[in-house]
Structures are given as C-alpha cells and as structure tokens.
Subunit: 600 residues, 2 copies
C-alpha cells in the first residue's frame, strides 16, 4: 500500500519565502493570507488529503465506479463519506469569492491544496475540480440570477459541476459540435445530443449536478462561431432554491479506462433537457475557454501531483529495499546487501524526480499567484504583465508539467523493479492515472500549438520578451554567488537556446506554418526547462539569503542548493538538443505520403 | 479493436538486402535460408501471428489468467487452441538445432518471428519465449541425458520452460538466493523454497512444464559463487519418456499486474521437489546468464514489437480521424475537418515511431545475425568480433529498445487522444504491456551498468573500438552521396559524442566508480542513438544502391531515405545533451543524505 504525506514545508517555502506573498498584504484577499494562516491551511488541508483521501486511492482504483441500469452511478466505497467531510471542512471554498460563500483567499493557496488532494487521490479530487471549473465560467459569464441560483451550493460543494464539450466526432475541434439547443419560448432551451468523456458526469456524491454544455442554436453559424454555453442541472431548481423535477439528462454508460477508475467518465445523453444560456448566444466558446484555461493549470498540477506521490514512494522503497553493493564498496557491510539508495542510477531517478517536482511546484504556484495578480494587482500594467505571463505559461504548465509528470511516475515505478508492476503496491496506478493528464483539457500537442501559434506571437511577442527579461535578470543576480553561478550559467545558456528557437520560428513559421507545428512540442519543452530554471534560480536565491541570514533549517536550504545545481546539470542540456530538432523544420517530417506509412 | 499486420516487407528488406544473409550461404544453417525461404517464413509466420494470435490479445488482457484453488492455472480463452496450432506448425522450432528436432535455421529469422508474435500478443508469445530461454541454457550446460529427456519435447513446444531466479528478498542481486537443494543420494536433489514473478510458471497449454531453478547446495559458498542450476519438471519423466508422478512444485498464487495479463506470473512453491543439476555445482549463474543474455535480446525485441503494433494503430487512426484544419490551409475542403495526419505534431509522433521501429528492427535483427555468427562464422577472429559486438549491443538492445519502445507506445496512444485512454481501443494495453519490458530480465539500470561496467572495459575496450570503427566506416562511405550526407554528418557527430563520453568515463570512473553509475543510463542511450544511426546508414546505402540499380519499388526505397534523414534530424541531437549530462558526474547526484529526501 503506497503512502503519502503532503509536502507542506516545501509549499510553505515557495508561498511564504520564494513568492513571499506576505508582501502583497494590501491586495484584496491577501490580507488574510498571513504566513501563519498559509502554514495552517497547508498543514490542515495536507492532513485531510493524506489521512482521509489517500487511503481510498488504491481501493478506489480496484472498485471503480459502477453504473446501475437505471443510469445512476455509484462511486467507490468511502468516497461519499470523504466527500461529505470535504464539504463540511469547506476545503472547496478556499479561493472562491466571499459573495457566494467562499473564503476569498488567494488562488496560490488553493493551487497548493489541489496538488495535495490530487496526489492523495486524483479520481476523488476531480469531482471538486470539475466543480471549480464550472464555477469559474459561471462567475465570468452567467447572469446574476443563474449565479445566485447555483453558485453558493456549487462553491460549498453541496452540488457539483461538469464540463460537456466532447462528442463522438468532436474532440479538439469544437467547431464540429452537433448538440442542439432549441428555445422553449420561456427563456430556457431544450438541449438534445450526446456528450462523451464527461468526467464526474453522474455520481452519488452530491444532491445535484450542474452540467455546463456546449450546443448550437437553430440559426447558429457553422463552426466555432456558432456555439453557445448552457447550464443544464440534473435536477431543476425552483425559485426557492429547492430541487424540482429530474431534467432529461442521463448517463448512458461509463467508460472503461486505463486509469482514474474512481472517477466516473460518462456518456451523457441530453434528450430535450432544459438548459439556461450562459452569456451571449454563439459566444459559448469564450466562456468555455475561461473554464478551460483554469482547468489546464489544474491539469498541470495533476502532473506534478502524480510525480510527487510516486516520488515519495520511490524514495521509501529505495531506503528500505536492499539489493547489491555500492560501487564504491559495501555501504552496510553488516547487512546482506546495501540499500537501493546507494546506487547512482537509482539516485539519478530520485534526483530527477526531486528536481522536477520541487521546480514544478514553484512554477505551478507562481502560476497561481499570477492568476491572483491578473485580478487584483494594483496597476493596469501589473495586471497586464501577470496576464501575459500566465497566458504564456499555462500551456507550459499543462504540457511540460504532465509530460514530465508521467515520465517521473514511470521512473519511480522503475525504482521498484518488478514490484512496481504489481497492482497492490500502487506504483503502476500512479502511471496510469498520470497518463490521462497528457490527454485531457487539450492534448499536449494542442498545448504546444497554443504556445507557439497563439501565445508567442500575441502582441508582437510581448509575453515571451517579458519572460526572457525575467530569466536574464535572475541569471544576472545569481551569477555572482559561487553557490549559484553554475546554475545561472546553465540557465542563461538554455534561455539563449529559447531565444534562438524563438528567432527561428519568427523567421520560418510565417512563410511555412508547418514549421511552427513541427517545432511546437520542442519549443514547449525548452520553455518548460527555462521556466523551471527560473524557479530554481529564485529558490536558490531565497535559500542563499536564508543561509546567509542564519535563519535555521540549514540542511533544508543546503538541499535546495544541491538540487538546484542538479537541475542545472541534468535538465538544462536538453534545451540545446530540442532547439536543434526544432530548427530541422517541417520539410522532412511532412515529406512522406500516407502510403509510406502502410505496413507491407 | 486494434489491428496488426506483420511488417514482412521491412523484415525482408533488412534480412535479405541490408544484412544480405544470402552471402553467408556457406555457413551452417544459412544454406537453407535462401531469400525465397526467408520471404516465405516471414510471410507465413506473420500470418500466424496476425490472424491467430493478435485477435486474442485484447480479450486475453481482459480475461487474464485464472488460478484454481487446486493450484492449476487457466490461460485466457483461445490461448490453448492457438498454442496447439503454434506447436503443429512448428513455429517454435525455427532456429533450434536439428539434433533435437529443430529446423536449424539462422537465429536472425527466429528473431523476426519473435517480433511478429510479440506484436500480435506479448502475453501469448512469452509462453514459448520462456521455453526458448530454458532450451538455450540446457543446450549449453545440461548433460546429454537431460538434453535427450527434455529438449525434443521443449523444442517442439509440447512442453514449456521457465526461469526461476527471483525470490521475495532477491531480484537483481542473485547472491541473496535462499532456495535450498539437498542431495537425495540418487543423483537428484530435493529443492525447497519460494520463487516469485515466474512468468508462465503454471498454465494449461502444455503437458509438462520444465522449471530451471537457481538454488543453493548445503555446503555452498555465500553469494553468487554458491548458486547451482536445477531442472525441476512439473511431472517427473520416466526413462521411457512417459510422464510420471507430479513433482512437489506448485503455483501458490498469480500476481495482479499492470499488464501482460494473459501470461501467468506465478509464485512457485518448491517443497522438496525433485531436481536435476544442470552443469557444475555452484556454477549455476554462468548457465543462467546464457539464458539471460538471449532473453535480454528477446526483451529488446518485445520493446520494438509493442512500438510496432502501437505505431500501426497510430497510423490507422491518424488516417481515419478528422479534427481541425491543416496549418497550411484546409487539406480536404469538402470534409468538415482534415485528417489528423496533416497536423505536424501528429506527424512528428508518427515519424518518430517509424524512425525508431525501422531502425530498431534493423539493430535487433543484426543482433540475431551476430548470435548466429558467434557460433558459425568461419574464422575465430570473426566469431570473436561477433561476440564482442553482440556483448556490447545486448544491453543496448534491451535497455534502449525498451525505453524507446515504451515511449513510442505512449506517443501512439497520444495520437488517439481521449480515445487512446479507453480500454476497448487497445492502445492503452500496448503501453501497459510494454512497461514490463523496461523492468524484467534485468531492469534497464542494470543493463546500463552491464554496458558501462562490464562490456565497455572488457579487453581494454576492444568491443567499443570495433563499434566506433564500424560507424566511422559507414559515415565515410555515405558522406559522398548527397542523399545520405546530412545523416552521415549527424551520425558522425553523435559518434563523436559517444567517443567523448567513453573517454570521460575512462578518465573519471576508475578514480570514482560512482561516476560510471551516474552516467550509465546516458551512455546506454547515446550508444542506442549511434547504433540506430549505424543501421540507418546501412539501410540508406542499401536503398540508394537499389534506386541506382533501378530495382523497382522506388517509393519504398525513397521512404527509407526520407526516414533516415528524419532520424538524423530528430534523434541524433540528443547525443550531445546526454554526453553533457554524463560529464556532470556523480558528485551532485550523490551529495544529498537520505534525510534530504524525506517529506516535511
């Protein structure tokens, strides 16, 4: 049975020391987020995740969700009781607006909790995460009446939410949506169609489920310009807020999947179900993208979260299992063999995981802070800057974070050798659960194209220039300190590769758009490396300052400096290789006709 | 339901044209292996794999193996009938010695068939592959009497074989084995102990199961110098060859695993079972290593095989599923969307898979040919050269082949988007089945250490020097042809990185052995890249020669040249990055104490 403990000290280090949100005390929401409150929330939410949710993870994978012939779905044993406790403790309300019963705390804190909850039990965490996404779209676009009717109970967790985009013929390409919405004449619409892959589409955790559904009005233009967004509750809600009749929406089947067995992935049938327009007609995609951008950051955190829990269990096994002898001579001569921990190739995997998870946590939490600053930074310039950076980093956090999260889970399974392949040990579940994060909320190839095709050229490259400058400044500031000089030099070099890759795209993608597509994956990964390098420089500078100030916990800060150096040594060299691949362009890649791929 | 077709044309290209085994007609076994016979065997064995075994793969994963309380194990529905057909067709006898009923054909042909069979159904293929491994050890080390008793029926497939190494406390480190062998006084031994992770340990496919078991004699020295190898049949065999009493060996449980559900992975209990010594007392490890080296090549082929079948299904989906529009403008304006195939990021994944599988197939089949030449090359010098190269390449074929095989299966699942996560589509099974190949027969970290710690320094680096020279010669020969010059330049550069990495290890691993361990993984991957580069140069030169000769099938050969160029562009750049990681050495990697890995 795998174990989990929330990395509270590390999250506290990032939030209170590196990002230092104490300095933002004058901003809305930040006044309450004192270092002490941050520490308490992390500690207590971490306990909830580790003690209540983690023990249900492996059994939940085994039991899966069960659909009754009547269309109802039972979640795995224990999920309902844990969810009730989640609601009672108010964990879903952390970063939600006070106007609807939330605690109004910064998103950066909510992001840390999302990591903990996902590490403990990704399937369980998704029920509330989908709700958070739906709430985000409704906060941005729904009428005051819809907000008042649905948001308080969604934010409290009494009701849950879903996102209904995908249809059998339509995944990435939302222009292909066929679900119809016909006006009922009373302001509501009749929604008809089939949606697939609907996470948390039906379950037994909440009294109502609020579906956000993309559909077409009868006279809608073709393609993405003709899509509208609707709220479709499982149970209609009366003017008094009481639950009314069952709506004509039902779960037709649940999918058999590689992982996240504890989350019900549903085929949802809408059969003239009553829906209520969110925002303007035919502008549904814009509303959905609000939800999707937040969800993408959340999925990036899922990648981190699976890497983290796998890492903890990789470490535990390496410090318990004895095989072979250290290359430098027996480490424990009194024992029949040494710990796996002494073997460099095992240590390589553990250090890779450590450097990734700690760096990625810093990047994801910085993303959370940027999400706050977009809304509450004091000046328009600062809000714009936060928005530029967050827009640029969202596909990187999602795409790079989940690619590496899966790799890390796989490597930690490798530490366990044959025992990692055995279901009861739990390592293989981390890999299976991590796998979906590379796919949903926009497959990682879509993220890469979002970065290269949309975020990069926007406003004449304003966002990436800002990013370059941030990295350069950190390199400059760190170079003079012998403890950070090696890392600074390597990150500067990687940043140079990113600049060169950017230049190459500017010069070659306009004339041949396929050159952008051919290099997008590589570009996303270079950006991920540089972004983690930036975070390791910031963490390194925080650590050196703490050590110089004699702040105590010297071993903790020293370990940060060692891990930072390791990141420089083992992560940054890939930037150059990725740039060279990118610069090969699309020509050879796109040269072969379909027949050349046929097996003969 | 996924599909599979054996890549017969490609295997024929490699065996008949690139390796050109027709030139070896004077060597034992090769006389019969005419180009026509090769073509026929590939065609027919490919049909057997695709038509009989592939349809059982997904259902076999779903059904799994079932253990009855009496200890018997049922394989998935259809396996028994397919296995009977396998035996009746004699597919297991291809490369086995004629003295025991084999066909005596070259191993290179048997290797091609192993790929087909594994692509079709890895779980099924393992039942016969384990037998082949056991046969190999017995051919090398067992007495004539034991050989005569067991080999004919094992080679025909009427009986199967297993390898019993692992125990609960003992995986990689075989010195920790505790299973005991006590002389019975009649030349046999009583074997007592528990073995775990025994693939094909118990099943219903064959009339007898011949276990090869590592155990310790009462007075054996400690560690690996005190291990002996025994044959322990499930049913004792009388002097007349008839089956006698049930031996005291039984399956105590079957494991729940991430993948290869159709193969029974057993806990085997030996309770004073009658065993017969194979080879000399306390020299069991040497015998087992004969089996293991062959098995490692086989596992490398499994990595290739999973990549191949995943690739075929990735291609099929990319040519069927429509989402979005080509970046260069609609490719099929009459359709609501373009094929996935037009998107560069999809094509990148397909071309990566194509370049890997075709290159890896060439490398694996070259390995098969080297295994032949070790035995039958006309001069001692040629046999030695083949042995050096095969020894060097075995950990690379296993480690690099399976690391990349898993990555490729994952990427092909990614092509399918959300549908790749759904069990019924079969893509996720390829990933789960591929996952074990990185672990068993020596985890890939063990392969990397075998390469760096054993194969590299052996005979003063004779093997790697030979390899360098082979690569240099191919680069030199290809440079002058404009169609291959780019690839030749890139492979030469990658070979330069490998030389530099080798030099670094020579200078730094003697003084600090951890430096070898810290770079072993990277070194194995650089070697893999250069080895595939070598094969792409050889395939490229074969293709240009065929084109220049106007041999027909121009599109086939042109595609080889394009894929070769792609390999150069997208695979070789990693060699430099890997070398730079390797040169970072062990210092930072090994610096942190266990406490620094604890979650706080």
């Amino acid at each position: 049975m795998p174990t989990y403990k929330a990395p509270v000290r590390d999250a506290r280090f990032i939030i209170n020391e590196v990002l230092d949100i104490g300095h933002l005390v004058d901003l809305p929401g930040f006044a309450a987020a004192t270092p002490d409150l941050v520490a308490t929330v992390l500690e207590e939410s971490g306990k909830f995740a580790a003690e209540v949710c983690a023990p249900l993870n492996l059994p939940g994978d085994q039991a899966g969700c069960q659909r009754d012939p009547d269309g109802s779905v039972a979640t795995p044993p224990g999920f309902k009781a844990a969810y009730d406790q989640f609601v009672a403790s108010g964990w879903g309300t952390l970063s939600q607006p006070e106007a609807f019963g939330g605690q109004g705390l910064p998103h950066v804190l909510g992001f840390a909790f999302e990591e903990f909850l996902t590490s403990a039990n990704q399937s369980f965490s998704m029920y509330s995460q989908l709700t958070t996404g739906a709430v985000g779209a409704m906060l941005a676009k729904a009428s005051a009446e819809l907000q008042q009717t649905y948001l308080p109970k969604m934010i409290s967790g009494e009701w849950s939410g879903t996102m209904n985009l995908t249809e059998p013929q339509c995944g990435t390409d939302l222009g292909l949506i066929r679900t119809r919405a016909v006006p009922n004449g009373d302001g509501s619409h009749a929604i008809t169609g089939t949606k697939i892959f609907i996470s948390a589409g039906e379950h037994d955790l909440t009294g109502n489920i609020i579906h956000l559904v993309l559909a077409r009005l009868p006279d809608a233009p073709e393609g993405t310009r003709g899509i509208s967004l609707f709220v479709v509750p499982k149970f209609l809600v009366g003017a008094d807020g009481a639950l009314g009749a069952r709506n004509a929406v039902s779960c037709g089947a649940i999918e058999h999947k590689m992982g996240i067995h504890g989350n019900a992935t549903c085929v949802m049938n809408y059969d003239g179900a009553t829906g209520f327009l969110v925002g303007e007609e035919n502008k549904g995609l814009a509303a959905m993208f609000i939800m999707m951008n937040a969800a993408r950051l959340g999925v990036g955190i899922q990648g981190l979260a699976q890497a983290e829990v796998a890492y903890q269990n990789g470490v535990a096994y390496a410090l318990e299992r004895r095989q072979g002898r250290a290359l430098s001579g027996a480490a424990d001569p009194g024992q029949p063999a040494d710990l796996l921990f002494v073997h460099p190739d095992v240590r390589r995997m553990l250090m890779d995981a450590k450097a990734f998870t700690e760096g990625m946590r810093a990047l994801a939490l910085w993303g959370g802070l940027l999400a706050d600053l977009v809304q509450v930074a004091p000046t328009e310039e600062e809000r714009q800057e936060a928005d530029d950076l967050l827009g640029l980093l969202t596909p990187v956090i999602k795409g790079y974070g989940t690619d590496k999260g899966y790799d890390t889970a796989t490597a930690m399974q490798q530490v366990w050798g044959g025992h990692g392949f055995i279901v009861e040990n739990g390592m293989e579940q981390f890999v299976r659960d991590a796998r979906i994060t590379m796919i949903y909320e926009g497959a990682n190839g879509v993220q890469a194209m979002d970065l290269v095709g949309r975020k990069l050229p926007a406003n004449m490259g304003r966002a990436i220039q800002l990013f370059f400058n941030k990295v350069d400044r950190q390199c400059e500031a760190a170079k003079g300190d012998a403890r950070l000089a090696d890392l600074a030099g390597r990150v500067e070099k990687a940043n140079g590769e990113l600049k060169a890759a950017t230049m190459w795209l500017m010069q070659n993608a306009m004339t041949r758009p396929d050159n952008a597509g051919a290099g997008a994956h590589h570009y996303m990964h270079i950006t991920g490396i540089v972004a983690l390098g930036l975070m390791w420089l910031r963490m390194g500078r925080t650590a050196t300052a703490a050590l110089d100030a004699g702040a105590g916990e010297a071993a903790f800060y020293e370990a940060k400096l060692t891990t930072a150096r390791y990141f420089g040594e083992r992560f940054t060299p890939d930037a150059g290789a990725l740039r060279r691949k990118l610069e090969a362009g699309a020509e050879t890649m796109m040269a072969l006709p379909p027949e050349a791929f046929a097996t003969a």
